[in-house]
Symmetry: C2
């Protein structure tokens, strides 16, 4: 039976069930007759062909389609985010979805394995972008741009274990704002925190807090605690997990997996419990171990200045200096920050939201230099809004409240109560479209009036214009309000003006 | 010298130049001394390390970054396109950048080889999307959607030979509008043509023409001319090249490469010269060969009805029934169309534009059924706006005219003529931001006033608010118009209101 090897899986199952049915009368029962097997094979092959059995329609693991409902929510949120970026003077830009693989390597630390590579089809080795920061740095270095304030909204791709429940996907949208250039200390850094505050307040997601630290303080703390310098980045990655894991598990990872001495881990443990306002910065200046470390002192000086500016921006009370904040990515060199939503008591009927980081960023003064042949540096600081998490939160809230969104913006529907009025409807809708009015009609020669009115109610179209024999004869049009069901007759030639008047009033 | 094998290329060149310099005094001249070679190797290695010689910074072949200038032009054009789609009642949606490879195979005919595949990293076999139509059909089938009017703006990827001169890239943006569902004939089809007209008129690209044909007429013509059915799609692909190639070259391809009999090719040649309005449709009904073909007759009937609706939409004079239009993609089943800009006489100083197709589409009634396990069909018709070509045309025109675009939207700049006024500037800009005003300042503690004013002029910021010692003492702020250089003093507490008044007036 050489054919069997070629059978697709579902056909195999069909064949098996054929073979397992009672033997035919002419057989001994112990062995199936040749004709029965041949028939089974044939039937399966035929079925296989007719039903395309091997073809299961689906989309790639960890990805999803965005329905019109999703898109409406996204558009609103992105509009708010982008208009904040523009308010702060940022320019838009975009980079290709993929980069040369070597552009992306050695930028992301432990996470590099999660990059999507493209197949080698006889050209360059390419990978899908993993964030928008590295392509931005590559852009600056390649075009020798020394100064730029830009935002970038785009998709990035990571081969993470997808968690649909938490709204984590392998393809997701990032919204980044960055300031590149040599400036006086902490002014751009403070503006980044101001932007995060404006966006999170604007989105009305509830109370939030921005944790702030500095990579130089993190490294200084590691040095002060006795972490060998070769382990700095690895230990930093462990600390970064403190928002998802308990200290004892992070400690275990550092000691058992990363070979840190237990007493060193415990010293770190003392520090990472510290968080507070500007007073904690002052306190750390007095810390016997930290204050011996040059790097840490520089970081503390900058944080002090940062808090001064944050006070002028009126957002100091939203900021917490937090020694447990480490940020996972390798490229940070100075101030780092992460905004978290504060859990509010769950209201009746509301499901508790999985609250976490909704924005983050920091200073990365060395990244552009990594791309420059001579290592010329361009200092940068920036932020990324966790829009996917925000989309998820807003969608969950709407679901809980039973809120519905209109997925179209249609203002007027063109209807008729009579048969053979397609031509008049087409003429009428042309007038509306040409006047810039959003209009729809049914693609039927003779639709029922009830069907037409029902369409307006179900899709939220506010106005209907109705044309029939009577109206045509008298040179009038009826305008109907879907909500109130009121109808008025107007002169045909006043149609556009009357519609525009009603739309501007509503 | 085992080290040499490890040297990168630029280091090799440096080594070579060292070895080629004049021999040292202690050498015979014929053979270089050991110490000299060793020195050369060492120097090269050091250089190699310092200058990262192997790293050439670039982006993938056929792709490009979109600068802020590009983005501004794009945003304006896309806004116009999307608002037209919304005017016709379309909903937005999005699909992942990649699909299962098998979703995309056997949909694009001869072009399938141009797909970007992802590397097999131990999961599914994936490819980057090649257009937005196949993912839309997959979406409809997967979600059992029988009716939908949607638009989709997104990137697609094709491994074509990039032609930067013609604005053709391997990553490009598509803007699609499609109507899925079983409706009365030609109503949605006519609306698609209306949309193309609205968009091309709105963009003011100059005069244009939409060529229309029907796949059933193309196939009927092939049958009538004696093309074997097995060659229909291949010959269709050749005909599709008529807008770029002369008839004699297309004929050669059909005969020499695709094995068509010369007399059959010549019969096709007679037809593909025909183009005209609705009168040509009437004429083809009388054609002795075409009128024998059932498929062709169906196509002609539909075109006749289409022209009736196009007349009601007021766009019939923009449409040309063109028998040379074939469209390359396999999935079309009915009406097909392609919009071309008509070459206008080149004005003085203007470079002649490479005019070509700027929008296209057609009816594809079988594509959704290819994804349905039971083959259930959902008829579809749609269009794609060639926005990349449009971006290119608009950018070229602006370049010719020397037009410049602002890449930021900043309305107000916060300046000071004095030292040590950072705090006051920060307080002032906070007020503006919090009132929703787009504002910038320089990130310097003590910028010069001239530098600040120059920044406004070079970036097009219209208003400056100025604060100095005098103003602070008197509780006033100066507002300066950058264009007129006029300055007025206003009360500090009226700042936001005064700025808003001025912005609403301009």
């Amino acid at each position: 039976m050489p054919l069997l090897g070629l059978l697709p899986r579902r056909a195999w199952a069909a064949l098996l069930s054929q073979l397992l049915r009672p033997p035919c009368a002419s057989c001994t029962g112990a062995v199936r007759c040749q004709s029965q097997v041949a028939e089974a094979v044939l039937t399966s092959q035929l079925k296989a062909h007719q039903e395309k059995p091997n073809f299961i329609i689906k989309i790639p693991k960890g990805t999803r389609d965005l329905s019109p409902q999703h898109m409406v929510v996204r558009e609103k949120i992105l509009d708010l985010v982008i208009s904040c970026f523009k308010r702060h003077g940022a320019k838009g830009m975009d980079t290709p979805a993929f980069e040369l693989k070597e552009t992306l390597t050695e930028k992301y630390g432990e996470d590099s394995g999660l990059m999507y590579d493209l197949k080698d089809q006889g050209g360059e080795l390419l990978s899908l972008r993993y964030d928008l920061t590295v392509p931005f740095a590559r852009y600056l270095a390649m075009n020798k741009v020394k100064k730029m304030k830009r935002y970038h909204v785009g998709k990035v791709w990571r081969r993470e274990s997808p968690s649909i429940v938490q709204g984590r996907y392998r393809e997701f949208c990032q919204c980044d704002f960055d300031i590149a250039g040599q400036f006086d200390p902490m002014i751009p850094d403070a503006e980044c925190l101001k932007i995060i505050c404006e966006i999170l307040s604007g989105l009305q997601l509830g109370d939030f807090l921005i944790k702030v630290n500095d990579r130089r303080i993190v490294d200084g703390m590691f040095a002060a605690c006795g972490v060998p310098e070769s382990k700095f980045r690895a230990i930093c990655s462990s600390i970064d997990k403190l928002d998802k894991m308990a200290w004892k598990d992070v400690r275990h990872e550092m000691v058992a997996k990363k070979g840190l001495a237990p007493e060193v881990a415990d010293r770190i443990g003392d520090y990472v419990q510290c968080h507070g306002g500007v007073s904690l910065v002052e306190q750390m200046f007095q810390d016997p171990r930290l204050s011996q470390n040059k790097q840490a002192l520089e970081g503390l000086e900058d944080l002090k200045l940062l808090f001064e500016y944050l006070t002028l921006f009126g957002i100091a009370e939203k900021i917490s200096f937090d020694l447990s904040l480490a940020r996972g990515l390798d490229y940070y060199t100075g101030v780092i920050y992460e905004a978290v939503l504060l859990q509010t008591p769950t209201q009746a009927g509301e499901e508790p939201l999985n609250v976490g980081s909704v924005a983050a960023g920091g200073r990365y003064d060395g990244l552009v230099g990594m791309f420059d042949p001579k290592g010329h540096k361009v200092p940068c600081v920036g932020l990324s809004i966790g829009v996917e998490r925000i989309f998820y939160i807003v969608e969950q809230r709407m679901k809980t409240k039973g809120e519905k969104v209109r997925t179209t913006e249609t203002q007027v529907f063109v209807a008729t109560p009579q048969k053979n009025f397609l031509q008049e409807r087409l003429k009428l809708i042309t007038e509306l479209w040409d006047a810039g009015i959003k209009a729809e009609m049914l693609y039927k020669n003779n639709p029922k009036l009830l069907t037409q009115l029902h369409y307006c109610e179900s899709t939220g179209i506010p106005l209907v214009v109705i044309i029939g024999e009577q109206e045509l004869k008298e040179g009038i049009i009826k305008i109907r309000s879907v909500a109130s069901r009121e109808e008025v007759a107007i002169k045909r030639e006043n149609l556009v003006a009357e519609i525009q008047k009603r739309l501007s009033e509503s």
